[in-house]
Symmetry: D2
Amino acid sequence: MRIAETQIQEQNSLLINDHKKSFEQLAEKLDKKNVDISLILERLKDFQIAIPSWALGQGGTRFGRFSVGGEPANLEQKIEDIGLLHTLNASSGSISLHIPWDIPDDAEKIKSLADSLNIKFDAVNSNTFQDQPGQELSYKFGSLSHTDPAVRKQAINHNIEVIRYGELLGSKSITVWLADGASFPGQQNFRKAYQCTLGSLEEIYQALPEGWRVFVEYKPFEPAFYSTVINDWGTSFLLASKLGDKAYTLVDLGHHLPNANIEQIVAILMLQGKLGGFHFNDSKYADDDLTVGSIKPYQLFLIFNELVEGMHYSDSKPELAWMIDASHNVKDPLEDLLQSVEAVKLAYARALIIDREKLWQCQEENDVVMVQELLQDAFRTDVRPLLAEARLQNGAVIDPVGAFRSLKVRDRLIEERGAGSAATGL
Amino acid sequence: MRIAETQIQEQNSLLINDHKKSFEQLAEKLDKKNVDISLILERLKDFQIAIPSWALGQGGTRFGRFSVGGEPANLEQKIEDIGLLHTLNASSGSISLHIPWDIPDDAEKIKSLADSLNIKFDAVNSNTFQDQPGQELSYKFGSLSHTDPAVRKQAINHNIEVIRYGELLGSKSITVWLADGASFPGQQNFRKAYQCTLGSLEEIYQALPEGWRVFVEYKPFEPAFYSTVINDWGTSFLLASKLGDKAYTLVDLGHHLPNANIEQIVAILMLQGKLGGFHFNDSKYADDDLTVGSIKPYQLFLIFNELVEGMHYSDSKPELAWMIDASHNVKDPLEDLLQSVEAVKLAYARALIIDREKLWQCQEENDVVMVQELLQDAFRTDVRPLLAEARLQNGAVIDPVGAFRSLKVRDRLIEERGAGSAATGL
Amino acid sequence: MRIAETQIQEQNSLLINDHKKSFEQLAEKLDKKNVDISLILERLKDFQIAIPSWALGQGGTRFGRFSVGGEPANLEQKIEDIGLLHTLNASSGSISLHIPWDIPDDAEKIKSLADSLNIKFDAVNSNTFQDQPGQELSYKFGSLSHTDPAVRKQAINHNIEVIRYGELLGSKSITVWLADGASFPGQQNFRKAYQCTLGSLEEIYQALPEGWRVFVEYKPFEPAFYSTVINDWGTSFLLASKLGDKAYTLVDLGHHLPNANIEQIVAILMLQGKLGGFHFNDSKYADDDLTVGSIKPYQLFLIFNELVEGMHYSDSKPELAWMIDASHNVKDPLEDLLQSVEAVKLAYARALIIDREKLWQCQEENDVVMVQELLQDAFRTDVRPLLAEARLQNGAVIDPVGAFRSLKVRDRLIEERGAGSAATGL
Amino acid sequence: MRIAETQIQEQNSLLINDHKKSFEQLAEKLDKKNVDISLILERLKDFQIAIPSWALGQGGTRFGRFSVGGEPANLEQKIEDIGLLHTLNASSGSISLHIPWDIPDDAEKIKSLADSLNIKFDAVNSNTFQDQPGQELSYKFGSLSHTDPAVRKQAINHNIEVIRYGELLGSKSITVWLADGASFPGQQNFRKAYQCTLGSLEEIYQALPEGWRVFVEYKPFEPAFYSTVINDWGTSFLLASKLGDKAYTLVDLGHHLPNANIEQIVAILMLQGKLGGFHFNDSKYADDDLTVGSIKPYQLFLIFNELVEGMHYSDSKPELAWMIDASHNVKDPLEDLLQSVEAVKLAYARALIIDREKLWQCQEENDVVMVQELLQDAFRTDVRPLLAEARLQNGAVIDPVGAFRSLKVRDRLIEERGAGSAATGL
């Protein structure tokens, strides 16, 4: 299904007056604080967050999975789903593919479908954490870090194949999330596992086409429960440094030990020129993969405070890849994604309205109380009208979740695809 | 020093126009959502949070302490400091005393000083985590849980003495934070320590005057680093249940293991009729005792979501004790307290504007997406004008931290008391 | 397959001399410390740990599963697998069934098979965390805690059905692990979810046959990622207390927040007469379900230190249910179980040799250094010869893992059942 | 006081027969496994662990401190205390000084005292986490990372002064534990704080004398409760890499987030040639500074498993600094230190008896079960006779804690120094 422009207008017509009023009131307040609203609107309008192809179906845990119905059964339908999101929020203009779940049979056809929905192809993702039917060697005991060079070679080749698919579609980067690790002390020799991984990554790095980048993700545990080869930002940074200028660290918000200060990691990585991008989600306990901003919205804001400083107030202009990476176990995946994108943009907008000159001055003077006043003032300000205005100016809806419901999108998807239609993926 | 009414008016005169405008805009929005603004204003105006006498000086860690100057050197000055806070925010109308740091020499004089500042005496606090000069037996290895009955007796008598001081001043409750525990496996016999503690608490309970309550605090670690006798809400609840109807569990937000769901604990304790009160602070790692709302404001909001439900929408009307319990290591303690009280009230106000009927309906229907929309709508709304209006109606200032600075309170305190004046306490 | 007595003897003949020597050396040392070795041997010989029917196949995570081959495909084969373990270690003499994965078609036949292998039927386990094919109502949003009474009724009836199957086979208890909870703030109303759960459990409790007990398990998260209805020991204890004398709390070692002091929970539950049993496993991060003792063997020893005190040195003689509850993702499940049972017994044996009178005396005197000497002396003593001797006296093998390999058990199982034979379960 | 050689012999005479028997039994067993016992004994005899000068008095927390009596009141007495330890265990042959607590008035006299006790001077430690009386600028808001260059200069100069004192005494390294950080979001600008710190460290680095090394410690929190400038191994490694070949990362076992895999950090640091040394202690919750091995002895063993591999089985031969860094709040500090040193050596000895060739082979073959058997076999073996034998060969006692008590060392120290004698330090 597609949402027609007239439907968009219909949805907005009911809310436009209230929105305009709220926006003007907010604009007046921000104006008094010398906030450049039009600049912020431009930044919000430009901000695009990729949707991973595996996030469009109902997710699950090792204990089970409960389907939502109408899930996209193939790559075309996945792109259509993202098209729906992008039509509603004008911020989901790219897709992140996963190979082998999303191998395009006819790349040109896929590209033109995506073009028609104004969707680009973001980073491609490899999978060496599962064995595929017919696969020669098993990844049970690792892939890029495996003790057996033949298994490593197979995994390297898979990654290179993923790059090739990405090239066909216009991607410019590959994300390597390496699930390799050990569930028991001694299972892996830490040194050898690190060295094998570095060697494997070097081969993948050599295969990067012109203009491509590789993102090295880190994660402390799961599916391995004692150690992970690339377990923290330090290890990812070390590997990316050894690989070269085209290698970067990718931060997934759920991939940290309890209480980690993620915003500090982000700041230091940017300072070293090695931050590559984000996988957004939220979590309370582990890699819970919950809706962005549903648990710790203030942490997200603090992360964007660092990002804004790094992106807009420093000499280095990091080119960052943004993606939602959540698992939708109890919510409609599309509604969940709309909420996640909104939460990311909210954090961005709040960080953009901080009076940064004054913040720096207070930091310089160690005026801790006033620093907190400044940050909290931005966070406590209701910036939702800014987001709505940016959407409006981009031709999308004022209230994405409201429109999704009002247009009965899920019902129509179930009608089209069936209640039993299930997405590939986790 | 005291702040004169004319100073209050002067402060407000600069902000009143902007405030009125913001308040009206907010009121209009809330009115459309059928929020009863006058009821909320009444609740905010009535809401009083006790300030502990030991929070008025600069705090420190085992590694050191850096003074702020002008700290209150005696009980009178502590009450004066709280008077300053209460004059500014009209929400700090009570003090929580700590014995032996705050033994009143002349109770009547102290009471009339407090009366003159409209300050009441909240829960009194005992101290068996330190040895006082001249103390007969040491608490090195415990107090109410000690293996030696003589030490237990001394600690019981101290608690009863604290109650007696509280009676003199008009307190109606005692908070027992028992630091007893073990730093090494086997150091304490868990069963005996529990039983001795229960026995000791029973003696204290017997000594409670008519109308008094006892709050049993819990904490997982520090100063004991392996186990604490009353380590979690379950143990506190167990003890309070065995003690009787006048015993309650007290929740300190910093006294939980990583990732604990505090709002659930609060809900279950209220449902059992055993929630006694709160020690507010915030933390990222351990019992960090940071400014309320400075780290996890959304968690605080979720806690108040439960409190509002328990206080205003259930048959049981829990009478709760509210106190800030933070350590001010790098901020001016008074500014810090103003920020903390504001954060508590902000969370309360946000929880009050939730459309509860609709929330219940969505919960009933398991409409998880809409539940989140409701909660986040309340949290994202800028309710600061509500707080300012409540203060204004109570004769206090629109912007407490701003006024504190504008009136140069700290400078004047240092002038009066000296840069070297240090508060007793931690 | 079965292992013949002659094979056992053959295995032992190679090790018997070394064993006898080691055992005598250990016995001499323990004798000097007045340890009653024959009593300890009797206790070790009597100690039986149930094997859950779902632990006999290769486990997995949400990211995938890698099979080991020769997994038991039905209940008969599962019982045979446990028979193999019990033949080797003489400590795995019972099975814990899971319904609906293990519904016995012919209960009498199953019982006589189990009898022939000297295996008893331990607690039965219900499953309301997944939807089964053809199930009328979904557990997506809960079961015993569901907002809809019809779903609760279905879940209650399932639990009662599980009890009926257990009766047929001679079980005497049911374990309720309730996966119900919320993945997002507000999704569940904490109070209503608690009350519905209590109501549902009361109905199940009413259906308990004479002599039966119900174990209420707790877990902080997973599969729900924000809150769990029965999230900690306090909630489980509260429910068990309200249910009555036949309800107990069950402790799974992996179901705690980071850094929790599990041994203290165990001690307090025993003191209250409410400890029902254990699910043994080990973990570093979350509910990792690793081999018992593979990560924190000293914690396991400290837990047994409490258990020994509660079981053998107190008036209450708790009747405890013991079960391994691990997931075997990278090890052969049977070898893993042999290692787990060994680790449990090792912890038990070490706790049994503690000089308890002296420990109590040092605790009484707060001689912390000497307490540690006593505990560490027991932990550092190599008690493996005690375990081997107990096995020998029970007709089992000196070295279970060694014998398993030497007898090529897995190869033979794959031969019999096929490399593709996969167990039902997680 | 000093312990005479005759006293040593007297102590040993009571235990020598039992020891010899135990040692022979162990030697026989290890011999069968082809363990080179004499090589291990040499390594154990050579192994020296520094004692920090601040660990000789009773430690405390922000809540209080309870003295033990007879604490060393000056540097001479501190050296004497370490002399006592070294006489008893022959493994505490060096002291780590802290400036300004231990400024030597007469370096030559101090050196000759230390010589007479066979004690060397290990790394010196600077202190910029406290303000000293008369100090010009305050470290309240940082030292090496301070926004004010004058404060940074003062802190740099202090560190250089510490190096100069170290030179006088024969030290060859300085450990920088930088307490700088922020207690609130935004307080510090992460980028500027990092850059200032790097600049400051570079100046200190320039001042290193020939043959000296600098150790950069990391710690996630405390005394700062939101962020620490050098918060994890990644940041420390980054700084050490930028500084140069004389800069190394120092690992304190208590300075990690919950659940961190420390042994992996150690392995990767060694592989990069950047591991400088250790501060040994143990912890359950945070930086608890408990006796080494009292909480997680298996983790300590796994760390030594990596260390043995790095030190004895790799080309790089890291020169590592070893120190106990614990706080003795409830134990006699000297007894506590004896227990700590014993625990470190126990872990080392266990790691030394691992059959490493076989371990590597099992790792290569991903035989996870057998890897665990190998590690646990080493850990479960009672290697205490090896440690006693090493002490005996070094002229020390078989049972250090027992001898300490039997010789009534504490009583004699209290007699000599008084019950009120208190050590400088934490």
